[in-house]
């Protein structure tokens, strides 16, 4: 028994989640994946969970979800199959969804292994490592330069800054604010062309609720920032927007 426990324990860290554990059990018992004896697998699965608990390891929630799925399937399998299959709708095997998941998971595990077996850069193949000292004299700074940087680096840079100064106010950036910013940019661009513009014109054709609200919020924001001035000739009259400062 002690041996068995250690055997289980050793195996624990190699599982990448409940699907992985199930695949292991299927392989260990030499089970046909298309015809899983659900009672046996459920029993062994629960046994593993018990051991994980007895070792006082935190059990990821996913394992418990899978446990209840297995028990649910097991109980459905126990229900008698109706004598007459309900017409066109052939009753689906309760295991079908799980089998599909397992097969998909297995396919990707294989794909991962196949990827790993390719000639990997810096492991199996290497490229020129030396700097070719042909001094790039014309370090062109022209507009057509392709810039190689991705959004992840951008947000990482921002995150770095924010954690450095730790200002709460800076954290409040959500999708809504960014959408409003798009409209702000749009308004300022049009103002640089047209000198003044009405609220109606800003809305254009796209007059869904969201657009109207965001446009209004953008205008408020711009007024608050003293970037624009808004005038209305009468109550309920046309709202006309001017840049606060002539450029």
């Amino acid at each position: 028994m002690a041996d068995e426990t250690t055997d289980y324990a050793i195996k624990l860290d190699i599982f990448e989640g409940p699907l992985d554990l199930l695949l292991y059990l299927i392989k260990k018992n030499e089970i046909d994946i298309y015809n899983i004896p659900i009672a046996l697998v459920t029993e062994q699965y629960l046994q593993y969970l018990k051991i994980i608990k007895s070792l006082n390891l935190d059990l990821a929630g996913e394992y418990l979800v899978m446990a209840s799925t297995l028990i649910h399937i097991k109980s459905r399998m126990l229900l008698p199959v109706p004598d007459e299959p309900s017409d066109e709708e052939t009753e689906e095997d309760p295991r079908a969804e799980l089998v599909r998941q397992l097969l998909e998971h297995q396919a990707f595990k294989e794909a991962a292994t196949a990827l790993e077996m390719r000639p990997l850069l810096e492991r199996d193949v290497f490229t020129r490592a030396a700097q070719i000292s042909d001094k790039a004299e014309n370090l062109s700074d022209n507009d057509d330069d392709l810039i190689e940087v991705n959004i992840f680096e951008l947000i990482e840079a921002f995150h770095r800054l924010v954690s450095r100064i730790d200002k709460k106010e800076l954290m409040e950036i959500d999708l809504e604010k960014l959408s409003i910013t798009d409209i702000i940019n749009d308004i300022m661009e049009r103002l640089s062309r047209d000198k003044n513009i009405t609220f109606e014109e800003l809305l254009g054709e796209k007059r869904d609720r969201r657009r109207i609200v965001y446009t209004f919020l953008a205008i408020l924001e711009l007024i608050k920032m003293r970037m624009i001035k808004a005038y209305q000739t009468a109550a309920f009259g046309v709202i006309r927007i001017f840049p606060a400062v002539e450029s």
Binding site: Y34, E62, T90, L115, R123, F126
Partner: protein
């Protein structure tokens, strides 16, 4: 241009990243694209024939000199062993993103059956995957895809060169067969 092949060879060596055919053509303005292509193919063949320690690989839509995989032991002796390999979790997550891209986190998780924040972050850090946009569904989840670097690291010409994923469609037929059996 008589020394077209030599120029291409020099350009490929000098380029930091795999050099695309289009870029070669842009530099050798007066040469026809078909001729450039022919020269590159000749170069590839020559390096192979000579059984050189170097080969001209087609990677990430471009061309790059690489050391032959079968000589990796020797090169590793030179470089030392600093290569940190990807964890199984990272590799599986990467495989899912590679084959199913564009894909959102929840879809990756439903295939892996576990939370994938950590491997996703690691892959972003390593620049093997990138954020390609947002899905237009409630919550606007971030969509991930692989990078050019992914192709470079895994020695791939392009994504269609990925080995085909084992078909698991047969399972429907299979399960239907089982149902038929259990119903009969």
């Amino acid at each position: 241009m008589e020394n077209c092949k030599a120029v291409i060879e020099a350009l490929i060596l000098a380029s930091e990243a795999p050099l695309a055919l289009e870029k070669i053509c842009a530099i050798l303005e007066e040469v026809e694209k078909t001729e450039v292509k022919k020269s590159v193919e000749q170069l590839i063949a020559e390096y192979n024939e000579r059984q050189s320690g170097i080969y001209l690989a087609e990677i990430a839509g471009g061309f790059q000199f690489r050391t032959r995989p079968e000589l990796s032991l020797w090169v590793k002796k030179l470089k030392g062993t600093k290569q940190a390999s990807l964890s199984p979790a990272a590799l599986e997550t990467l495989a899912i993103v590679a084959y199913r891209q564009p894909i959102v986190k929840s879809e990756v998780e439903s295939i892996r059956g576990v939370d994938v924040s950590a491997p996703l972050k690691g892959l972003l850090d390593k620049n093997l995957i990138r954020i390609v946009g947002r899905k237009d569904v409630p919550g606007k989840p971030i969509i991930y895809g692989t990078t050019k670097k992914f192709l470079e690291v895994f020695n791939l010409k392009n994504l269609s060169e990925l080995p085909t994923l084992r078909e698991f469609k047969e399972l429907n037929e299979q399960t239907e067969a089982i149902q038929d059996f259990s119903n009969s």
